[in-house]
Structure formats: structure tokens, C-alpha cells
């Protein structure tokens, strides 16, 4: 009599529009979800072992190779960890340039995800290619916005992908004022476009799906977090990056080549735009805050499907912040501070587009890396993605398999997962019995 079979299997063998190779298996038994596995089979990449025996100065360029989307994040976490190990003080102008470089990466990464990867889910298109056939202007806008980010990374980092200008202590060469000024007009356009993007995505249909996450993000005394801040959570965590491993640990699960990261006391947690926004709403610039309010967001957002709106708000923040840095830019007296290696340990966390990225290095007196630890954001979100799917599938069992599969993929894409980073991801299977 029942139209709903008691046993169902939903399988996505290769998740699309995510970075890297992964799959999703969901089992339904007697009308209830009995198992959810985000299977990551992108091979492990052993970067931490690769760093052993290398000179401290190589860390930013080696770790940048972990990801083609967020190389700046790896470079920033690496240089900050090593500078803390060696007690290096950074020139304020170098600090501002690093923020500018990071803004470039956020704009690039968020524009790609909002327009090319996530928007098609909400508008009912199989891919950005199908969306481009009906809405070429939108896709062009997204690509142009992304390009503005690329141009920042190029101007400060030396090239668009895997920048080559970042070093422990500062930069190899700093741009002149004249070299950065052409960005000013482009960033004015980009800020306006990002504001329009917030209005556009705010009108998408969102499922009513609020989760009670423990959000974890950086928090800085006065800025929206990029490179600096304490690691804080919505359940009272407030620590320096040096205490990260006292509170978080990584565990191996058989179905994933990426380690699952958990809070020792409370288990899964959520990093990325939703966490950053909800813990730092008061640190957004007035343009971004007003745009968020106008888009109907409250100061805390716990609906992962609305992450696309938060990413658009963060794009406004990154464009406006980049414009401010460019307008005020005066080159530092020296491109880099002196760095004297010593036997030491250094830790740092920075805010990659997908969430906090933790690095820890121990070096000997010559600056050779003795051991390294890298915890990327997607590894930290794996358990939370699985938890979202447990509830989401349970509430949507009435949907036919093809639509349920689509929605599950969308739920995974809420996190913009970067599987290549996490393995240092997707096939979906829903098994209904």
C-alpha cells in the first residue's frame, strides 16, 4: 500500500561541482536513515611528510601546491606559523598587503562557487554550462567578478595560481603604488557587483533547515578575520592557535582518505562562511552588514543552504576591504623582515575561503622542518556535512530518488568542499530498505 519502499539506496558515484574525488552513500532502512557516508577516495597526498627535512623558507611554496583554489590560504597559514616560531615582527604595510592578497583569493573562490557551482542548484540547472545557455549575462558577471580576484592575486602574489611572491617575513617584491592603483576602479565595480549578487541570491528558494552547529572561526579585535585572531566558537571556546591541538583532534574513519576533525569535548563543528559570519557579524564593514540585513539574514545564520547568501556578503566585505587597502597603500620600507631560524615550534590559523586552516611547524636550529601538521577546512567539516545529510534525508524521504539525490548533492555543495585539500570528494549512494 505504501508508495515509500522500506529500503532505499541513493548513490552518487562522482559528486559534481566539488573539488576532488568523492562519493556519497546513504542507507535508508524501514523509513529511517540508517547510515550516511561521505566517502573521500581522492588519494592521500602526504604533504606533512613531504615537508620534513625541507627548509622553513620552502613551506609557503610547497603547501601552496595543496590547492589551486586556495593557495594563498596555505601560504598565509605557513608564513604566520613560522613567523610566530621565530618571533618575526611584520611591517604594517606588509600586513595590509597580505590582507589584500587574501581578499583576492576570497573574491576568486566565492565568485566561482556562488555563480558557477552553487547557483545552478537553486535555479534548477544541471551545471553552469546549462545555466549559461539561458543566462549568459549572469555567468559573464560571475566570471568577471572572479577575474577581479585573480588580478589582485596576480598584482600582489606575482601570478594568479600558486603565487610565487610570498615569503616568511613578507614578500620577495612589493608592488609600487602605481601598480596597485588600476585595481581601485575595478574594485569599485566589483563591490557594486557583489552587492547585486547578494540581492540576486537572497531571492533563491531555501529549504527551512536550521541546524544547531558549534560554529568555529577566528575573531579579531577590530577586523573581519583573515590572517589573525583567536579561535572562538559559539559554545564558548576562546583559544590561541597554539592551543588548537589541545582542543581538536583528527580521527581516521574507514570510508574516507581524509581525516575527520572533531572537538575533543563536543564532537563535530562547523567552519567556513556561516561560522565566520555568525561569530563576526559586528566586524563586517557597514556595506556588507547592510547588504546582509537587506537580504533577510539575521546576525547568526544556521541554515547551511543560505551559505550562498553569506558567501555573497563576504564577497562584498572582501571587495570593500581590498578597495580600502589599495586606496591607502604606501609600500613598506623593506619588502621583508629579517628572519633568523631557530629550534622552535610555531602555530597559526587563518581563514581560508572554506574555513579555518591550521598549520603547525617544528624546525631545528638551521630552520629545517622536523615535523608539520596541516588541518584543512574540509576535513573539519566532514562530520558536519554527514550530520546535515542524516537530518535532511530523514525529513525528505518522500522525494523520489533522483530529486533526493540532487538535494543531497546541493547539501554537500553548501560547504564548497575541497576534497583535494581534505586528503592531503563525490559519488552519492542512497540505499533504501
Amino acid at each position: 500500500m505504501s508508495a515509500v519502499p522500506s529500503r532505499r539506496t541513493i548513490r552518487v558515484d562522482a559528486l559534481a561541482r566539488v573539488e576532488g574525488e568523492g562519493a556519497l552513500d546513504i542507507e535508508v532502512r524501514k523509513g529511517a536513515v540508517s547510515d550516511v557516508k561521505l566517502r573521500i577516495f581522492e588519494p592521500p597526498r602526504f604533504f606533512e611528510a613531504l615537508l620534513r627535512g625541507r627548509l622553513y623558507s620552502e613551506a609557503p611554496d610547497i603547501t601552496a601546491r595543496i590547492c589551486g583554489i586556495c593557495p594563498v590560504a596555505y601560504q598565509m597559514s605557513a608564513v604566520h606559523a613560522l613567523e610566530r616560531a621565530y618571533g618575526v615582527e611584520i611591517d604594517p604595510a606588509v600586513r595590509a598587503l597580505r590582507r589584500l592578497l587574501y581578499c583576492g583569493e576570497w573574491i576568486e573562490s566565492h565568485a566561482l562557487h556562488v555563480y558557477m557551482l552553487h547557483a545552478p542548484d537553486f535555479l534548477g540547472y544541471e551545471s553552469a554550462i546549462h545555466m549559461a545557455q539561458d543566462h549568459p549575462g549572469l555567468v559573464e558577471l560571475g566570471l568577471k567578478l572572479k577575474k577581479t580576484g585573480n588580478e589582485i592575486v596576480s598584482a600582489v602574489g606575482g601570478r594568479e595560481i600558486h603565487p610565487i611572491n610570498v615569503r616568511v617575513g613578507g614578500f620577495y617584491r612589493v608592488p609600487t603604488r602605481a601598480e596597485l592603483l588600476p585595481l581601485a576602479e575595478k574594485l569599485k565595480w566589483a563591490t557594486e557587483t557583489a552587492l547585486e549578487t547578494v540581492r540576486w541570491v537572497a531571492g533563491f528558494p531555501f529549504p527551512d533547515f536550521e541546524q544547531s552547529y558549534e560554529f568555529v572561526a577566528l575573531r579579531h579585535p577590530s577586523e573581519y578575520p583573515l590572517n589573525e585572531g583567536r579561535i572562538v566558537s559559539s559554545k564558548g571556546l576562546d583559544i590561541d592557535a597554539a592551543a588548537y591541538e589541545e582542543h581538536f583532534f583528527e580521527e581516521h574513519v574507514p570510508h574516507s582518505n581524509a581525516l575527520h576533525s572533531v572537538l575533543k569535548e563536543r564532537g563535530s563543528y562547523h567552519v567556513g562562511p556561516l561560522a565566520r559570519y555568525s561569530l563576526n557579524f559586528d566586524r563586517l564593514c557597514p556595506e556588507a552588514r547592510d547588504a546582509a540585513r537587506e537580504a533577510g539574514l539575521r546576525p547568526t545564520c544556521s541554515n547551511p543552504f543560505r551559505s550562498i547568501v553569506v558567501r555573497a556578503v563576504e564577497t562584498v566585505e572582501a571587495c570593500a576591504e581590498a578597495a580600502r587597502i589599495v586606496a591607502a597603500y604606501e609600500p613598506p620600507g623593506r619588502p621583508t623582515a629579517d628572519v633568523v631560524p631557530r629550534g622552535a615550534v610555531g602555530h597559526a590559523c587563518t581563514e581560508a575561503p572554506r574555513g579555518i586552516l591550521y598549520h603547525r611547524y617544528r624546525t631545528d636550529e638551521q630552520g629545517l622542518i622536523v615535523d608539520a601538521k596541516i588541518v584543512p577546512p574540509t576535513a573539519q567539516n566532514q562530520k558536519t556535512i554527514e550530520a546535515d545529510l542524516w537530518r535532511f534525508v530523514g525529513e525528505n524521504l518522500r522525494l523520489p530518488d533522483d530529486e533526493l539525490t540532487w538535494r543531497c548533492e546541493q547539501a554537500v555543495r553548501n560547504y564548497d568542499p575541497c576534497i583535494s585539500c581534505a586528503t592531503h570528494f563525490l559519488k552519492l549512494t542512497v540505499d533504501r530498505q
Partner: protein, 155 residues
């Protein structure tokens, strides 16, 4: 008229994925006149940007489909879709085949876009080109020279 453009796609450090780079190096050994030679990772948005406004573009990439290693396939992408299964996906699942279709939808596809796909066998990090692919590189370099300079005659 814009200069012709040859794009070698791939990763130099991953075995036969370096075929695009190897063809560019082969062309640089005796650079053809009025031609730009670029290497790209294969990220779709970068490819679209690179070929925008160009009239004649030739792209060389490795393929991991069917057939024996070193097999050269030539496609006129301006005429029709590439077989997506041949081209390994790239960052965020956007590869060469996707770049071609996205560019076609945006009406920015060059009027001539010739794509060479060379079947590889070994894509391991740290490996060089396999012998059949190394042999194919010489053949593709010659074919690309003919494509960009229809009057070119081999010495």
C-alpha cells in the same frame, strides 16, 4: 587579425599529463612566427579567458579514455562538443570539455578551436612522459605547425 594561440594543458610533473607542455616546448625550439604559446593548468575559467578574442586556437591536452597510449585524436571543437569522458576533469570538475561548452554558451568560442587529445598511460606524480606519448609529441608538434601555418612545409 589576432595572433594564433597554442595552449598546452596539463601538469608537467604528472607523467603523460605533461604532453601539452611538451608540445609547447617542442614549438618553442623553433618558434613559429606570429603565434603565442601558452601553458595552462586546464582550469576552465582561465582557459575561456585565455582564448577570448582569438580567432585561431589550438589546444593540446592528455586524454585518459580508450585506445592505446600515444593515440592522437584531433577535434574541431568549434564544430561540436568534445567527448567529455576523454578529458580528465580539473579543478572543481571544470575541465577542457566544460570550458569549450561554457565558452560556446557565452558565445566567446574562437571561430577555429582545434583540440588535440593524446592518450596517456601513466599519470603518476614525479614521472616523465611514457615512450609512446613522447613519440606522439613529435607528431603533434608537426601537425600543430601545419594547423597554425597552413603553408608550412617540414624541412
Amino acid at each position: 587579425m589576432s595572433r594564433a594561440l597554442v595552449i598546452g594543458v596539463g601538469n608537467r610533473t604528472r607523467g603523460d599529463d605533461a604532453v601539452g607542455s611538451a608540445v609547447i616546448r617542442g614549438l618553442r625550439a623553433d618558434p613559429p612566427a606570429e603565434v603565442d604559446l601558452y601553458e595552462e593548468s586546464g582550469e576552465a575559467t582561465a582557459l575561456i579567458e585565455t582564448w577570448q578574442g582569438r580567432e585561431r586556437v589550438i589546444l593540446v591536452d592528455a586524454a585518459a579514455g580508450e585506445g592505446s597510449p600515444g593515440t592522437i585524436r584531433r577535434f574541431e571543437a568549434h564544430e561540436g562538443s568534445l567527448p567529455a569522458a576523454l578529458f580528465a576533469t580539473s579543478t572543481h570538475g571544470f575541465g577542457v570539455a566544460h570550458a569549450v561548452e561554457l565558452s560556446r554558451a557565452l558565445r566567446t568560442l574562437p571561430p577555429t578551436l582545434i583540440v588535440y587529445a593524446v592518450e596517456g598511460e601513466d599519470f603518476e606524480a614525479g614521472h616523465g612522459l611514457s615512450l609512446p606519448v613522447a613519440d606522439a609529441v613529435r607528431e603533434v608538434v608537426g601537425q600543430v605547425r601545419r594547423d597554425i601555418q597552413p603553408n608550412f612545409r617540414e624541412a
